[in-house]
Homo-oligomer: 354 residues x 3
Amino acid sequence: MGMRFSDLLTRISQVGVATPRHLGPDPELLLGQSLELAGPGQLAFLEAGHAMASALAASNAAAVLLPLEADLQRQATERGLAWVALADPRLGFAEALGALNPRPRPPAGVHPSAVIDPSTRLGAGVHVGPRVVIGAGCLIGHGSTLHPGCVLYEDVHLGEDCEVHANAVLHPGTRLGRRCVIHSAAVIGSEGFGFVPTPSGWRKMPQTGRVVLEDAVEVGCGSMVDRPAVGETRLGEGSKIDNLVHVGHGVHLGRGCALAAQVGIAGGAVLGNGVILAGQVGVANRARIGDRAIASSKSGIHGEVAAGEVVSGYPAIPNRLWLRCSAAFSRLPEMARTLRLLQARLGTDLGGPD
Amino acid sequence: MGMRFSDLLTRISQVGVATPRHLGPDPELLLGQSLELAGPGQLAFLEAGHAMASALAASNAAAVLLPLEADLQRQATERGLAWVALADPRLGFAEALGALNPRPRPPAGVHPSAVIDPSTRLGAGVHVGPRVVIGAGCLIGHGSTLHPGCVLYEDVHLGEDCEVHANAVLHPGTRLGRRCVIHSAAVIGSEGFGFVPTPSGWRKMPQTGRVVLEDAVEVGCGSMVDRPAVGETRLGEGSKIDNLVHVGHGVHLGRGCALAAQVGIAGGAVLGNGVILAGQVGVANRARIGDRAIASSKSGIHGEVAAGEVVSGYPAIPNRLWLRCSAAFSRLPEMARTLRLLQARLGTDLGGPD
Amino acid sequence: MGMRFSDLLTRISQVGVATPRHLGPDPELLLGQSLELAGPGQLAFLEAGHAMASALAASNAAAVLLPLEADLQRQATERGLAWVALADPRLGFAEALGALNPRPRPPAGVHPSAVIDPSTRLGAGVHVGPRVVIGAGCLIGHGSTLHPGCVLYEDVHLGEDCEVHANAVLHPGTRLGRRCVIHSAAVIGSEGFGFVPTPSGWRKMPQTGRVVLEDAVEVGCGSMVDRPAVGETRLGEGSKIDNLVHVGHGVHLGRGCALAAQVGIAGGAVLGNGVILAGQVGVANRARIGDRAIASSKSGIHGEVAAGEVVSGYPAIPNRLWLRCSAAFSRLPEMARTLRLLQARLGTDLGGPD
């Protein structure tokens, strides 16, 4: 199952391997590993920036993908490592891992324990695993894979080459584009949390809309994307969502966004393209976040964030300001003391804190 | 499947439609939509407060539910929209969506792929979907619906007209009142996180209690309600819980509470009636929160919150104070600078921050 | 099913019951309960520290486990309660609950609705419940229990006496030691959130590593432990994880850690032994936390935390400092006012906040 380094380089040519290289004995590679832990038969990589550069001198990797830095290349040659230099070694490593670890597509066919409504239509090459349940009127695109135990309610449409992992659930009316991935225990299209207060308690607002995932959207394990009362909840093409994320009813997410684990987005928020939210960020109802904005972990966003802005804290403020405010926060007891002393020196008491 | 506006108004009469109205051509309505996006055959609504009032002048909705404001009514008539004025247009819209989108109850019966212990008793009209598993000694109330893949361990009791969504799990001893809804991938009655430190590691405290949900409680997707070591975890009548919420062992929640997504309530906390916790709020062990208290998003509550109080921040403080403190936080670097300058002017160094 | 108090004490002898005791009428005990709610046939306990000491004088428990404090023992005798004094009454209560509520191991055998790949090997005494799916090449250790609806992908190894609860999912390559418990809807070994930015969007980094749980690790409901691109995600022996926790790809957790609900640990973080993280704590990529460090709820950790340190806040700082800073935070508006008044008194405006 191994592969010569030279053959691997041919396989990953789309990331540009015409750059300097040193095949040495052209080792047989079996798998990838981190630079510190890699041994014989293993491929590692090193990014520009040198944080791990010292690990290179001690590495026992068989081969390494390097950035375009001559001294690192010399160092690798001296260590006796095969190497190639790439503009983006991390991207090359992704390609290489894919080549070294091909994931065979599960064979087409329907497991006899699956329960599929006769009105549902399956495309060519679809794999339906054990105990899958598919309701009425669904369309499953060519080449899609449904892993064991996932449940599709009625009227769910999947584009080509989608993958739905074990025990995930897709609710009525959900639409997935092509090449979407829904990870285990994720739930797409469930009822939004809409209740109207009345004198006799909370009255549910019927959630009659749907969830639409455009092409190549990925939703992590245990993440929840709710459908709205009316209209759509929409996740734009190529957006990626980590585990345990909540996306409320009616949220619109642009293309190419990345939401880290445990992010929560309340109903009606609108995010542009390329937005990045770090872990545990919260976005309030109807907030608006511009293209390519970034929120650092745990920040809480109300109102509006401009395109390209980097925000932090709760309520979120510009990251640079927040860094200075946070530093000052940890000196608050001293500041309070200084204030007291200044007042004492002036022989006055202005009612400040004590 | 559509419905004349005049017929719809008859159907939603319980929210008070004797108020001014303008049927115009009495349009046929098919579904609801937001005021900006609504077109022919679609119903929208507008709440008092006018945030969307400008959308009314441009709306292409067929009909609209309005608040009791004469100028909006005149505007709608001029635009040629059918309308009715209601004291609570949002509530009326909820009623209307329900009338326009009737959800037929799944037919009574047990799917042949379900696995049900013979000691379990099913009420009349119960629907058990594919791949449901029900353990020994369960009681399923009349008219309840169990969607595909949900699992009931032994000794679980459901009241009448409950709905358990796909792949949800109810653990031993769980009790649900009438009209409860458990959404997909939620887990009710699992073991609380109780461990006693010992020299040889954590020793599990057996969790021998149970979870009780009173009537009309709703638990969101992927939310977890744990059972306690002894006694009960109890969620009061009509309380509504959004997605990915954690309710620890022994928590007592009053009636009519609303917990937004990703709230976490640690073991033993006691919440009164009508408490509202916004997204990502945390409540510490044994905290006590009074009736109708509100916590804004991301706040963290220790100790006690009085009835009716509105709190924010971590640790949570009164919301009005927190708003002023947060505003001051973003000016901390300036405050530190002013302190330094004041000291310099007084020709002294009091040891404050630098 | 009850048990005499004297017999119970024999059963829990491993926690040291040779200390003073008062059997009184040697009551028959049926179950445990809290000190305030306990009645006839019920056992309660009271820890050192007296927070509940007043409840003892009013308790109707049949018997109580007390700390080594003579006045409490006298009080219990006067109240007519049977009691025993223990160095650790909470630990004794855990033992007693276990004795009073024996959990019979499910009978060995495979439910006919389970789907098991023929290449998988089951140890002696294994229980496989309804609708379980087990992929190719798995090894299930002796005495393990797989509850209904759980899914094991291919090449999953479980040690002896593991328990996997309903609808949990174990992904390819996952390794569990002995006596591990995976709670409902948890997902172990799913793909880490690794994407490389490219001009044409996010490119997935293949996740070719695995998740390893050492002996006696417990993972709560709906918690997610991801596998890394290369190498391992590893949870050390005896570590306990509560509900809805995210453990990112490549995280290493030491032995005997405890992670409370909704904690999130980003990829590559390294935690030592005995680390305790309270609810909703976040740990950033590649952070390092030393042995026995503690983080209070909602704190956010970047960089490094020394062994034994107690930290709070975001960014996390030493807990003692944070307590003082938080107290000062709520006085910020007053501090700002004092600063303004000081400037006015000095007849100057230094550009501070207004």
